[in-house]
């Protein structure tokens, strides 16, 4: 049997390691798992044996990703003038688009809505900075590395992950 359980957040075993353990449950029973050296930003698909020795597949969402998904979903409630000025509500289309992007990222960003119908993803590394501004129809980018700025108004959404990984890897 293979089924997708509801996402569940695992608790850290100790503060000094990245080991996690947790109890996962669904209607079929209770499972126990220990995972070590967990990438904190990962979505991990795992198969476990349940108490009946059946394989069950589930998706684990990291704390960071879960927090970002909660934040993005909270943007659905923003009304006209939500920023105190002339901001319009963010469409479900753009929120869903950003959820899809963020769900596939190895490194989770800091996320902000803007007053111009876009959602901004940010990364900071010392003085260096990487920003993606995601609109319904296109994506813009600003990168500042060693004081040098690069701004692009139209990048392919497929480039995002690679740019983020390169930015975070060069440390």
């Amino acid at each position: 049997m293979n089924e997708v359980l509801n996402p569940y957040r695992l608790r850290p075993q100790s503060s000094s390691t990245s080991a996690y353990s947790g109890l996962l449950s669904d209607a079929a029973g209770v499972y126990c798992a220990s995972i070590y050296n967990l990438n904190p930003s990962a979505i991990i698909k795992m198969s476990l044996l349940n108490t009946s020795s059946e394989h069950v597949t589930f998706h684990y969402l990291s704390e960071e990703l879960t927090a970002n998904l909660d934040r993005l979903n909270s943007f659905r409630g923003l009304k006209s003038g939500w920023n105190g000025y002339d901001a319009e509500p963010l469409s479900d289309k753009i929120i869903d688009k950003v959820i899809a992007v963020v769900s596939g990222l190895k490194y989770q960003p800091t996320i902000f809505p803007t007053g111009r119908a876009s959602i901004q993803l940010e990364y900071h590394k010392g003085e260096d900075y990487l920003e993606f501004e995601i609109y319904e129809e296109n994506v813009g980018m600003l990168m500042i590395v060693n004081g040098e700025e690069t701004e692009r108004d139209n990048i392919d959404i497929s480039e995002i992950s690679e740019l983020i990984n390169a930015f975070n890897a060069n440390s």
Partner: protein, 132 residues
């Protein structure tokens, strides 16, 4: 209003709302550049001879749910060639008058700032008032 009628050090004030949170998590204690992104230009109130406290109170009384009031100067705008346009609000249909209202624009014809311009303003803005 041409920039020549604004002096270099004149402050321009903008309100940052509390929810959603616009404060950076990188320890800088500054707002995100997202604060300075609006499709019709970024609304600010010029100081126009008032005290800083008067400018802060004027904004707080008009817009609830605020987290902070930040200010930039005319010079800060000139550093990134940001166009400043006078846009006084006369007041009608329950909208209060605001003779101090200005718009920050990418240039004379394009309202939306570039990402670089918005980032610059976020980096140089002064925190005039910050609620916990």
């Amino acid at each position: 209003m041409p920039i020549a009628e604004l002096h270099q050090n004149e402050k321009l004030f903008r309100l940052v709302i509390r929810n959603p949170n616009f404060w950076e998590k990188d320890g800088s204690n500054r707002p995100s550049s997202a604060v300075f992104k609006d499709s019709k230009g970024v609304s600010v109130d010029r100081k126009a001879g008032r005290s800083d406290d008067q400018c802060v109170d004027f904004l707080i009384n008009r817009i609830p749910n605020h987290r902070a009031i930040v200010s930039i100067t005319v010079h800060n705008c000139e550093q990134k060639e940001i166009f400043i346009e006078a846009d006084p609000v006369e007041g009608a249909n329950n909208q209060p008058a605001n003779p101090y209202h200005m718009l920050l624009k990418k240039n004379k014809t394009t309202p939306s700032l570039t990402r670089s311009q918005a980032r610059h303003l976020a980096q140089v803005c002064k925190i005039e008032s910050l609620e916990k």
